[in-house]
């Protein structure tokens, strides 16, 4: 069975990416995220999951964001996990969102998708004109499938 060989080049512990909070920017975020995950040898399936999850997190955080809003993504990677913090501002505050607010529907679906694709996530209600989200995915151990 093939083993993961350690890379000669050290990986950065943190990467910061700031993009306009618009859907056409999500591919940029996805590419960055998957490139970093690849650096620590995330498996193909895990990267496919991350691709979905990163998009969901960004979309959810950017809901109701103004045209001038920015999305600040901080990626933290280690040998065992990938972590992403997402902060979008300014956003229109509806705090706390009522059950029938469109955001609830959007985030409810995002949660379903995130629950299925990452190990840990959080989407906070907007406060002070900013919405924060976070996800964490652990790298599956490089062991043979049963």
């Amino acid at each position: 069975m093939a083993r993961h060989m350690p890379r000669a080049d050290p990986i950065p512990a943190q990467v910061l990416l700031v993009v306009p909070a618009r859907p056409e920017m999500w591919p940029v975020v996805r590419m960055t995220a998957t490139a970093l995950a690849s650096q620590v040898d995330f498996p193909f399936d895990g990267i496919e999951d991350l691709r979905l999850a990163v998009t969901e997190l960004c979309s959810s955080c950017a809901f109701d964001a103004g045209a001038e809003a920015t999305c600040e993504c901080r990626f933290e990677i280690s040998d065992s996990q990938f972590e992403m913090h997402c902060q979008v501002s300014p956003v229109i505050e509806t705090q706390p969102p009522s059950e029938d607010h469109p955001l609830m529907s959007v985030q409810d679906l995002s949660r379903q998708i995130l629950r299925a694709t990452v190990d840990e996530f959080e989407i906070r209600p907007a406060t002070d004109g900013m919405r924060y989200g976070h996800l964490l995915k652990e790298r599956a151990p490089s062991v043979a499938l049963q």
Partner: protein, 284 residues
């Protein structure tokens, strides 16, 4: 027997025990909204929405058939995982129709079989580095191809026809065999999961018993095109019909755990959302 008014969990338990087909259809129908919402998440990637709903419906059927209530998991979490898996597989398996360079297209087409081969070889999902080495490309190129692969699509009834409109439009508005279709649906409820236009194409061939050539003449397309469309619709039907035998049990879901904000680990399917998400309405 519980009716629609009974809790979903109760009816899922009953279905697990009885495998009652009427109850199965009822449960599938009630959760189609989840499929539609998940399908919309993929709607900007070049695939017709109806096709995505169709693919997602297969995942839903597998979910209903494979769900094991005794494990105590939440059905919607299990179904979401299964439906997403089906949609991802669909995108992974289908053909191209986007503005990607030929090099990227060719590379992407190599990734699927390579992943399959390496998974078989290593007994686990391969890394991007391993895929790149196997193909003889750079990791960046593989990642680029994977990203570009988000936009591809397969031949569809929604594709423009040779004389304008779509092939789906040519299938007409009225179908004298709708009642017959309905009776077939009773026999094969999976047929109901197909978009109406694909159902009608199948009806033309297998109910009206028109030949492929006759259908081709009626639609003004080539017989080969009819053949491809039928093959695709039938392949979907096969997957639907075979879904029960897949036995995707809910205990087959990934056993990964997640933490609440307090740091406590819980089993994924039952994991409660953090405090700030507790206002999320439960689906069942």
């Amino acid at each position: 027997m519980p009716t629609r008014h009974a809790p979903v969990a109760e009816r899922l338990q009953l279905y697990a025990n009885t495998r009652d087909r009427e109850l199965r259809s009822e449960l599938i129908e009630e959760h189609l909204e989840l499929v539609e919402r998940l399908a919309r998440r993929f709607a900007d990637r070049g695939e017709p929405y109806d096709d995505l709903v169709q693919v997602g419906s297969i995942g839903l059927i597998k979910s209903v058939d494979g769900f094991d209530p005794d494990l105590g998991h939440e059905f919607t979490a299990y179904a979401t995982t299964t439906i997403l898996g089906e949609l991802k597989r669909h995108f992974r398996d289908r053909g191209w129709s986007i503005r990607a360079s030929r090099r990227v297209q060719e590379l992407y087409l190599e990734i699927g079989p390579t992943v399959e081969a390496l998974t078989h070889r290593y007994g686990r999902s391969p890394t991007i580095r391993e895929i790149a080495a196997e193909i003889g490309a750079t990791e960046d190129a593989v990642l680029e191809a994977m990203e570009a692969g988000y936009g591809y699509r397969s031949p569809s009834l929604d594709a423009p026809g040779p004389e304008g409109g779509t092939l789906g439009d040519r299938l007409g508005e009225q179908d004298p065999n709708l009642e017959l279709i309905d009776s077939r649906v009773t026999v094969m409820p999976e047929l109901a999961a197909l978009p109406e236009r694909e159902r009608r194409l199948i009806t033309m061939r297998f109910v009206e018993e028109l030949s492929q050539v006759e259908i081709a003449e009626r639609l003004g397309i080539s017989q080969m095109h009819v053949s491809r469309l039928l093959a695709r619709s039938l392949a979907t039907l096969h997957r639907l019909v075979e879904a029960p035998s897949d036995r995707v049990r809910s205990n087959g879901a990934r056993p990964a755990q997640k933490r609440t904000r307090s740091g406590q680990k819980q089993n994924r399917p039952e994991a409660q959302t953090p405090d700030n998400q507790s206002h999320s309405p439960r689906r069942d």
